[in-house]
Amino acid sequence: MAERVPTRASDTSDRSVAFVRLADEHLDKAYRLARAILREPAEAQDATHDAFVQAWRKWDTLRDASRFEPWFDRILVNTCRNRLRSRRWQATDISAEVALVTGDHSGTSADRDVIGAALAGLSPDHQVVVALRYYRDLTVDEIARRLDIPRGTVQSRLHYALKRLHDRIDAADTKGTVR
């Protein structure tokens, strides 16, 4: 059980300088990761800010400043995941996007819509591992360490997510080609 106790001014000052310096160094990367997971700029901004607030509140748990990035990444990813969860569970119907697809999915906006919708149809946990894998290019082991989950769970979540994406995007491509 954590207690809220006052902190000495000088103590806090030293910490705050260190915190702001590290936060500033990692801000861009953090914001981009939040964008990759949440997709919406405003949500990503808020999530990034909230994650830094959380990081400051938990500052005492960071023992080694050189470990800031993985430590903070964990906070940020959890913040993003909670935001995805708070959107409530949505089953995504991508039939509307399907109608836009012409069969050429080489980077068109329609293709982006299809992939974005397919990603949105994944559960929050699956969205997170896909973003870490294909945006951050982290290995399975790195993802496992960032999320504090077993490697096998990462693999199974990626496995499931890719199958899910495969089926949804294939369906969109197929129908789009017919049209």
Partner: protein, 810 residues
């Protein structure tokens, strides 16, 4: 679309969406400096020995609290901040639209309703304005007056409200941490629940009716589960049977004997890709007797038990195209009743007087009336508006998010905080292996024969090898555990442990009876990685594994084939970069960077006489997850596999042990990987199923004739299959079992089996083996039966190991 293409499209999507963003918004950067000045630090929890008295904890908190008050860090007494527009409960005059709505009787005097209101807070929220929306905890009096924010100085998101049954305490969450306060906004105390690694977070807490326990959701080891804590003793029980990737919103039964919650379906395989539907589930407080209460078709969420224990309320979920309404069901799952029909009614809770408090939106298709908080009787009658949306201060579309919770009165007093949690202990059975679709009965010829559990509860045996004494060794995969199956007793028993976990390894019985395991990926836990070059031998006489020489190249997803001279041919597979410096290297491992993994065309030979590997010729193509079959003349037929860009390979090579060279032979009509290749009694090789270059799964089969060096058609299986098994029976037929099927729009793991008869050249179905599985093992026993064990089904979170095993009697 191949897997590689999918990955490319995903990466391109992220580049398009995010790659162009070089820097974060300037106002976001500017806000960082203000965080330390405006956010109190939370000190690292003190490590306490279990057993410290509550008195000691109380003393710490008392001192801390006094200091905190002195420093001004505690939240001040709530200010009464009127909600915008109207601060009265009952509307006067006509409702917002449509038919005037009846007005409910006012709430019981003295009670309050806690709710969540999204408000614009003055904080840097980076939208180019000085404010941004946050979820805030609000209270409104029973008479509809004095609506105010409980902690106006907060900056974070709050939610998950739950009253104690006596109404004296209110639980809530604040940015992932849980707190307890009361209707007057007393300084919140953190609610510790002993979450420690592997626990990554506790949330969604609620009191029991007797005030002696809380129930919450624990996120641990990648799954979410229901957990309880006895407030007097601190005993934390993790109800492992409730584990899933989306278990949520637990609530006690009034007698404290059961807990309801909701979670999503175990699997959505088969049929057009459906939404994941949720249902209300129930479990005994000791973790036993897990059962589903509501039908999956209603996508039920947020269950609430009635005070008399007779009914459970829930709301139907936001499934595409479906309406949201409130339902009630008896705890035994009978008598499901729809209480509302306006399609916008949600967030139902029980009020202290037995009525139901709920939110009703404005866009319903039914006879909803005006939006706001409503009440109705337990049977759904006498619905009446209680608080109009204007008085709540949110948009009608946001009503559902308010989740109003009526403060009860007269319930049992709670164990007063602070509460000291103990380390969580798992209680009840483990979560059952998901099998959401009705398990088909075993067809004639199949029979269950135990299971292959490992010490950690998962299945054992990525490979299965028939030993000389008739037993079967199951080993390999992401565990070092190994088991022996004895056909005479039908039981699995542990044997020695492998020296390392090896996913994607090979197992080959040598002439002397030992079993050679080569390479594989180290996947035992989150900290392991890399692909082994090492190999080890299992000695059936001692029941132990020991290292032998190492391969020249680390490999996984390769193939090992016993040659007639007793040596073992190793072909293809996936390898990677050289070792990472500074990483502890045990055995003969190489630490690999996953993204640099490459598929091999090289091959090696293992000589049991010397215990060493040596290079031999190379194949005509890179291959992994291919097949390599010893022909009757001693040569080895290498077929298909994954090639460049994950495109499957149609070519085939013949390896001649006498020359150590691979030469191309006839090609298949199409590329295949994840197929099976079976040497028939007439010397031909049956190649069945697999995945195509276009990522469809084949029904077709081809047969290779060594006499002509050509492949010919061998008909089609009843279902497309990859990662299935194919076993040559004593009578010359081939048993095909399980596998994974997809046509790009649908997918499922198969429990079906079929038989190939080389005399007729036809496949014919022979029924179900009971459990869907792909990547299983199938071993022909000395008595002619076939042991089918292990494999994987697909659950919510991906692959789920199948521990059960079946025997097939031809």
């Amino acid at each position: 679309m191949t897997d590689r293409e999918l990955e490319q499209r995903l990466r391109a999507w992220y580049v398009a969406e995010v790659g162009g963003i070089e820097t974060a918004p300037a106002d976001l950067r500017e806000s960082l400096a203000a965080i330390p000045a405006t956010t109190p630090l939370v000190r690292r929890p003190l490590t306490r020995r279990r057993g410290l008295t509550l008195l000691a904890v109380a003393a710490v908190l008392a001192v801390g609290g006094a200091l905190a008050v002195g420093s001004g860090l505690v939240r001040p007494k709530p200010r009464v901040t009127p909600a915008p527009n109207v601060a009265v409960v009952a509307p006067s005059g006509a409702p917002a639209s449509g038919t005037p709505s009846p007005t409910a009787a006012p709430l019981r005097p003295g009670a309050s309703i806690a709710f969540i209101r999204t408000v614009e807070k003055k904080r840097a929220c980076f939208r180019g304005t000085a404010t941004c929306p946050t979820s805030r905890l609000w209270i409104v009096g029973a008479d509809g007056r004095d609506a105010h924010e409980l902690f106006p100085d907060g900056v974070t998101n709050q939610g998950d409200l739950a009253w104690s049954s006596d109404g004296t305490r209110l639980l809530y969450s604040d940015d992932g941490s849980m707190y307890v306060t009361d209707a007057s906004g007393s300084p919140p105390q953190p609610v510790g629940t002993g979450c420690a690694v592997p626990c990554t977070g506790d949330s969604q807490v609620a009191f029991s009716s007797d005030g002696r326990s809380i129930v919450f959701i624990r996120d641990s080891s990648g799954v979410t589960m229901v957990a309880t804590m006895d407030l007097a003793t601190g005993r934390v029980a993790e109800l492992t049977s409730t584990s899933s990737d989306a278990t949520a919103a637990p609530a006690w039964s009034p007698d404290g004997k059961q807990i309801v919650f909701f979670r999503f379906g175990e699997k959505d395989g088969g049929g057009p890709v459906p939404p994941r539907l949720s249902a209300v589930w129930m479990v005994d407080a000791d973790g036993q007797n897990l059962r589903q209460v509501s039908p999956m078709t209603l996508a039920a969420q947020y269950p609430e038990w009635s005070p008399d224990g007779a009914r459970i309320l829930f709301e139907s979920g936001p499934v595409t195209g479906a309406d949201q309404d409130i339902y009630a069901v008896r705890p035994d799952g009978s008598d499901v009743r729809r209480l509302t029909s306006d399609a916008t009614s949600t967030t139902a809770t029980w009020a202290a007087d037995g009525r139901i408090l709920f939110t009703r939106g404005s866009s319903g298709s039914g006879s909803g009336g005006s939006p706001g908080w409503w009440t109705m009787d337990a049977d759904g009658t006498n619905a009446a508006v209680l608080v109009p949306v204007a008085a709540i201060g949110v948009a009608a579309a946001d009503l559902q998010g308010t989740r109003p919770t009526w403060q009860p009165t007269g319930g049992a007093a709670i164990v007063p905080p602070p509460w000291t949690p103990a380390t969580g202990i798992a209680v009840g059975p483990p979560a059952p292996t998901p099998s959401p679709t009705p398990t088909p009965p075993l067809s004639p010829g199949f029979g269950w024969t135990g299971s292959t559990p490992s010490p950690d509860g998962g299945p054992v045996g990525e490979t299965a090898t028939l030993l000389a004494d008739g037993r079967v060794l199951l080993a390999g995969g992401c565990t070092t555990a190994a088991v022996l199956y004895d056909p005479t007793t039908g039981t699995f028993t542990p044997t020695g442990s492998m020296t390392a976990s090896r996913g994607g390894t090979t197992a080959t019985r040598l002439v002397d009876g030992r079993v050679l395991f080569t390479g594989g990926g180290d996947c035992a836990d989150a900290n392991s990685s890399g692909i082994w070059a090492s190999a080890e031998l299992y000695d059936p006489t001692t029941g132990t594994f020991s290292l032998t020489g190492s391969m020249q190249t680390p490999r996984e997803q390769h193939v090992a084939t016993l040659l007639k001279d007793g040596r073992v041919l190793i072909t293809g597979g996936v390898t990677g970069a050289s070792p990472t410096t500074g990483t502890a290297v045990s055995l003969a491992s190489y630490r690999l960077v996953e993204t640099s993994a490459i598929v091999l065309k090289s091959a090696e030979l293992y000589d049991p006489a010397t215990g060493t590997f040596s290079r031999t010729g190379s194949m005509s193509s890179i291959r992994d997850q291919h097949s390599a079959t010893l022909l009757q003349d001693g040569r080895v037929l290498v077929v298909g596999g994954g090639g460049e860009g994950y495109a499957s390979v149609s070519s085939a090579d013949l390896y001649d042990p006498a020359t150590g060279r691979f030469t191309k032979t006839g090609s298949m009509k199409t590329g295949r990987w994840l197929h099976t290749a079976t040497l028939l009694q007439d010397g031909r090789v049956l190649v069945a199923g697999g995945r195509s270059p276009q990522d469809s799964v084949y029904r077709s089969a081809e047969v290779y004739d060594p006499a002509t060096g050509r492949f010919g058609s061998a008909g089609s299986m009843g279902e497309g299959r990859q990662q299935h098994t194919a076993t040559l029976l004593a009578d010359g037929r081939v048993l095909i079992a399980g596998g994974y099927w997809s046509d790009g729009q649908h997918w499922r793991v198969l429990s079906s089996t079929e038989m190939y008869d080389p005399r007729t050249g036809n496949f014919s179905p022979i029924g179900s083996m009971g459990t869907p599985r792909d990547g299983a093992t199938a071993t022909l026993l000395d008595d002619g039966r076939v042991l089918i064990a292990g494999g994987e089904d697909i659950g919510n979170g991906g692959g789920v190991g199948v521990a059960s095993a079946v025997l097939y009697q031809p």
